[in-house]
Symmetry: C2
Subunit: 145 residues, 2 copies
DNA sequence: CATTTTAATGCAATTATGTTGCAAATATAA
DNA sequence: TTATATTTGCAACATAATTGCATTAAAATG
């Protein structure tokens, strides 16, 4: 347990969630990574520490409260990343670009890149935008090709 | 069978695929819809006419040949739409925007809307872009809200 | 601090989803 | 019409996700 613990505990309490071991574990793992983390990876890392079902429910609860957000990769697998501070259950601000590296398969949240405005046909009302770019990330583009 | 049949038969032959009942059925269903069609929906409509496995394989073959393209919706479910004429096995041109209606859950391929160019951080190399907009489609935006 | 209340976990069972191998059937070529 | 190659459908298997419920743990209460 790092010194993040109390920060995470506050985060849980603030969202009306009890401060439990599996929840803190998930926050710990997600915060220690520079890219979104897949459900299968989380499952593997948690190992026998937590039941698969518990993990599903933890992730679902976090997503509902706006603590994490879900990105689907090209295969449709769910990946999770901790939301920036502006997020809440009421309003998600995850409309940044996600970058899916074809080589290392990490998913980066490019918080700094804004999705450009979009012209849609008459009648359509856009509520949210979800842009996934694929290609090579900064650390892979040097190595391969 | 509508009068599309011969057109679809040509399409199959052109792609080196045999002209079979389940394949023509899938093309018939997809072409009769104005939005992308989910795998579960196709399964339901085909009913006992075709085996689940056959459907998987038909869709896979079509995708490989560039006859249809796959879009994942927000739940990660696969949806399929017939490609515009420019597509082939060698080169897919499905980089248009997909619109996911929050009300009727249809997925529209907005062929006319181009994805704007994107500035990504140094080192990142973008190969493909995949933009999904959610909101209300033209026919729903009048009805609700 | 002991006790009550409420929420969360873990297990078992179930359901849904996707894959593989192979024999039978069907489409095309010869 | 026959031969060849592809495609289908079945069965079995594998994987992923969901539900109900008893047990456990956390916060609230007196």
């Amino acid at each position: 347990m790092g010194n993040n613990t109390s920060r995470f505990e506050k985060l849980l309490v603030k969202n009306g969630l009890k401060r439990t071991v599996p929840r803190l574990q998930v926050l710990e793992i997600l915060s220690g990574r520079d890219s979104a983390t897949s459900q299968p990876y989380l499952e593997q890392v948690m190992g026998k520490d937590a039941d698969r079902v518990t993990l599903y429910r933890v992730l679902q609860a976090f997503e509902e409260k706006g603590i994490i957000h879900k990105v689907l990769d090209q295969q449709g697998t769910a990946n999770y990343a901790i939301c920036s501070d502006g997020c809440s259950a009421h309003e998600h601000h995850d409309e940044h670009v996600h970058f899916n590296c074809d080589n290392c398969h990490k998913i980066y949240c490019l918080d700094t890149v804004k999705i450009p405005a979009l012209k849609v046909p008459a009648g359509f009302k856009v509520a949210h935008l979800n842009l996934i770019a694929t290609g090579l990330c900064a650390s892979c583009s040097g190595k391969v090709n």
